[in-house]
Symmetry: C2
Subunit: 123 residues, 2 copies
Amino acid sequence: MIIGQHLLIECHGQHANLDAGQLLALMERAAQAGGARVLSQHFHKFGEQGGVTGVLILAESHITVHTWPEHHYAAFDIFMCGDSQPSKAAAVITQHFPTATSHIKTMERSCPTGVNGPQAAAL
Amino acid sequence: MIIGQHLLIECHGQHANLDAGQLLALMERAAQAGGARVLSQHFHKFGEQGGVTGVLILAESHITVHTWPEHHYAAFDIFMCGDSQPSKAAAVITQHFPTATSHIKTMERSCPTGVNGPQAAAL
């Protein structure tokens, strides 16, 4: 049974230099584009020259970000369930800087009932 | 350049019935086993019969959980960078209920410099 989709988004370029407030605004726009509702947001800044970690807790799961300015790298993930549209949320993030390079992996999240393999024996 | 590993963990069984306090304790043990440091934790309970969403923000990235008791399903994800060992953290979670069924997907997180394909042209 598929519960939702989990998108892992790798960004090389300007995303890595966004501060916590800019990341929050971008992730809120992404959530809205995906039809998701933000319940709370939590950010942490790693020192003066360091990166940022941020999480939006959604009614439909979550969006997170971690940035490494020294590597020009930002790692987002979007997990959305129900009728939401995480690919639209991802598009807001990847299109924010048209000249940045981004790559998206989309994974289905599903309950492993009926998994084949050794773990299935534990059911 | 590989920055870290991102593990998506699907659990069918008792994990889905853990409350926020129990999930927090489990995720803190997982973080410790993986050699990670917890910076903050944030949980949300979805109504009396509903599931739980929880996030641990780590110095090494994050651990999240979303539960659907009605589907006997809990979805964890562990993103850890640096010298931490996310597979050890995942083992704490999956082995918590030996009779539950669990499935782990391990994804490398890396900066997409040198990506082949149309997006590379934007560099």
